[in-house]
């Protein structure tokens, strides 16, 4: 198993207490697997993805272990994580393409970044150029300023940069959200291409857009309010989900071909619970049409069929 996460808990510090954003998640990803991490805002997917690479100022590691390729990742220690970042685990943060320094040419920025990591530019420049060609950008993009590049081009530069040292695990956080639909497709296909060429071994693709995941992910992990709801292969999640949340979510997605006049889709009433003082038991019970008395106790995330895990009392025998 490439990545093993055991009962990871990461909270956010606020003036009013700790927000329990990630409240005990356990899962594993195999070598070469692209796992989609789906869920709505506030479910903890970004927290999960980011905590594997670095904990920002407000994030507080509470408990749990993360193991990558057999070695424990010291995610609670910012400095101890340094040798792992970029080389073993890498992240494409949300809004990365908007965070490129506007006063630096792309090439200079890359040089500075590599220098900061103690990597001589000469040793990777050939590979860098090769990969830029591969994603459809010529070497001349290194001489441009970020403002001269389109959204898709910037995203591709960021993708090449994040995977330059062939990390074992890549975390891609909402990298297709701000792009046009045609560029989205190109970027998503590039992710798969990276995996095919072994630039990256495994990937966690975080997004709220399940349809993109249906195209590129091998497995999908659905989160709700800081907990895991369901995990299965992409096909199973989309065609035969078992958790009530997943089922309601999938059925509320409009598709090309479905028209209101033919079939009126329904959303999920209500809103997710606040995580500052989360309710006990299953966190979806207030919105769940199948809730009953047992839901007052938190359901465990268990395997109900090979490769398919659900956290729901209705599904666990």
């Amino acid at each position: 198993m490439a990545l093993q996460v055991d009962d990871l808990k990461v909270y956010y510090r606020t003036l009013h207490g700790d927000v329990q954003a990630l409240d005990g998640v356990t899962f594993a990803i195999g070598d070469g697997e692209i796992m989609g991490l789906a869920g709505e805002s506030g479910c903890g997917k970004s927290t999960l993805g980011n905590s594997l690479v670095y904990l920002t100022g407000r994030m507080k590691y509470v408990s749990g272990t993360v193991t990558l390729d057999g070695a424990v990742l010291p995610i609670w220690d910012f400095d101890a994580m340094n040798p792992h970042r970029f080389k073993h685990v890498s992240v494409i943060p949300q809004y990365a393409m908007s965070a490129l320094n506007p006063t630096r040419r792309v090439g200079k920025m890359i040089k500075e970044l590599l220098h900061a990591r103690g990597i001589p530019y000469k040793s990777v420049s050939d590979e860098l150029l090769r990969r830029l060609e591969l994603v459809g950008l010529g070497g001349e993009v290194l001489d441009r300023y970020p403002i001269e590049l389109s959204g898709g081009m910037k995203q591709r530069v960021v993708m090449v940069l994040s995977t330059l040292l062939d990390p074992s695990l890549l975390v891609a956080d909402e990298i297709t959200s701000a792009l046009d639909v045609s560029t989205q497709k190109a970027v998503a296909e590039l992710l798969v291409e990276f995996r095919e060429r072994s630039f990256v071994k495994s990937m966690i693709v975080i997004t709220h857009d399940i349809s993109i995941l249906s195209q590129i992910a091998d497995t999908i992990l659905v989160m709700y309010a800081g907990h895991l709801a369901e995990r299965a292969s992409a096909k199973v999640i989309i065609e035969s989900p078992r958790h009530p949340y997943t089922r309601l979510l999938i059925s509320s997605l409009p598709e090309v071909g479905i028209r209101y006049d033919d079939k009126r889709l329904v959303g999920i009433p209500g809103t997710p619970p606040a995580l500052l003082d989360p309710p006990t038991g299953c966190r979806f019970k207030d919105r769940c049409p199948l809730a009953y008395e047992k839901c007052a106790e938190q359901p465990p995330f268990v395997e109900v069929s090979p490769g398919h895990s659900v956290a729901c009392w209705r599904e666990t025998p």
Binding site: E40, V181, S211, I258
Partner: protein, 329 residues
């Protein structure tokens, strides 16, 4: 159905560069109409000019050339009192629910603004009843949403409040500019269904979006916009079911679908025949966006392919229309 809003060769040109020397054409000769009780989707990617059109209809941005007619009257240059009257009939809802509210005031202040400007003499009890009716029409519970600050409400609730605000004015036309793109997946469909309810009440809706699946779900007619020009328009079922222009096809091929892979969709599109529009023209299907890059159809016209379904002639990379097989070039 009677035509409510009509755009007539509307163009928008910006002056850019130092001293305003250069010109940027954002919208070029756009003409289409929306009837009462009809939802028209305006679909385009970024830079297509769709939001600019929305702003021009709402008079938030001036029209450079052309006319926008509402109930037959040209509204593209309205000012002052006449403009205020126009706003009683036409309103808009925008993309970012949190930016649409002044963060230092409570969310229901938007209702107060309407009352102060349009209904200053209405009695308080009567106004409260009107409010309740509007909130009911958008399925919001007054207890949950009134007297709260914007950051205490969800994006979906905020967007629905904005629709309720528009309904207070008894509007007849709504411009919905990407109103659900910043909402969570589970709340999107509720707001979308709300737009369909408005349609049932006889309102005309212009639904501006970049997401084809949403457009397909809710609209009667679709207008596909590319770089300020309409490339295809017609009944939604026809445009999506039998896309003729290369750009439309490319868009459809790029939308990720839940139950079909990209390859399956692309194959299906490729095998769908492209009809000859007339003997001298033929629309060629371009597999790559690169071919579209050379497409600059500023001089070509929109041609009616079948009843109500218009397509813009597509120029090939050679700069001329692709000839029909067997014909001399």
């Amino acid at each position: 159905m009677s035509v409510m809003l009509q755009l007539d060769d509307v163009s928008k040109t910006y002056k850019v560069g130092a001293f305003g020397g250069q010109r940027l054409v954002a919208v070029r000769d756009v003409s289409f109409d929306v009837a009462a009780g009809e939802v028209v989707s305006l679909i385009g990617e970024s830079g297509s000019g769709k939001s600019t059109i929305g702003k021009m209809i709402l008079r938030l941005s001036p029209v450079t050339t052309g006319a926008i007619r509402f109930d037959g009257n040209d509204v593209s240059r309205l000012k002052g009192r006449a403009l205020k009257e126009y706003y009683r009939r036409v309103q808009g809802v925008f993309q970012d629910p949190f930016s649409s509210y002044n963060p230092i005031f409570k969310a229901d202040r938007v209702f107060k603004m309407i009352k102060d400007e349009f209904f200053p003499h209405v009695a308080r009890s009567e106004w409260e009843q009107k409010l309740e009716e509007s909130l009911d029409a958008v399925s919001l519970d007054p207890v949950q949403v009134l007297h709260k600050y914007p950051h205490q409400l969800s994006g979906g609730q905020l967007q629905r409040l904005l629709v309720a605000r528009a309904l207070l004015l008894d509007i007849r036309f709504l411009v919905a500019d990407e109103i659900i793109s910043m909402l969570d997946a589970s709340t999107r469909i509720d707001v979308l269904n709300l737009l369909a309810d408005l349609k049932a009440r006889g309102l005309g809706v212009l639904f501006i979006t970049h997401d084809l699946s949403l457009g397909n779900y809710i609209s009667d007619r679709t207008v596909i916009l590319r770089r300020g020009l309409i490339v295809e328009m017609g009944a939604t079922a026809k445009v999506f079911g039998n896309p003729q222009h290369a750009y439309t096809r490319m868009l459809l091929a790029s939308v990720p679908q839940l139950h079909r892979t990209w390859e399956e969709v692309a194959t299906e599109l490729e095998t769908t025949p492209v009809e000859a529009i007339d003997s001298r023209l033929k629309v060629a299907y371009a597999r790559t966006a690169a071919a579209l890059e050379h497409d600059d159809p500023t001089d070509s016209a929109l041609v009616e392919f079948e009843d109500g379904h218009l397509v813009r002639r597509y120029e090939s990379a050679a700069g001329r229309t692709a000839p029909v097989a067997g014909e001399a070039a």
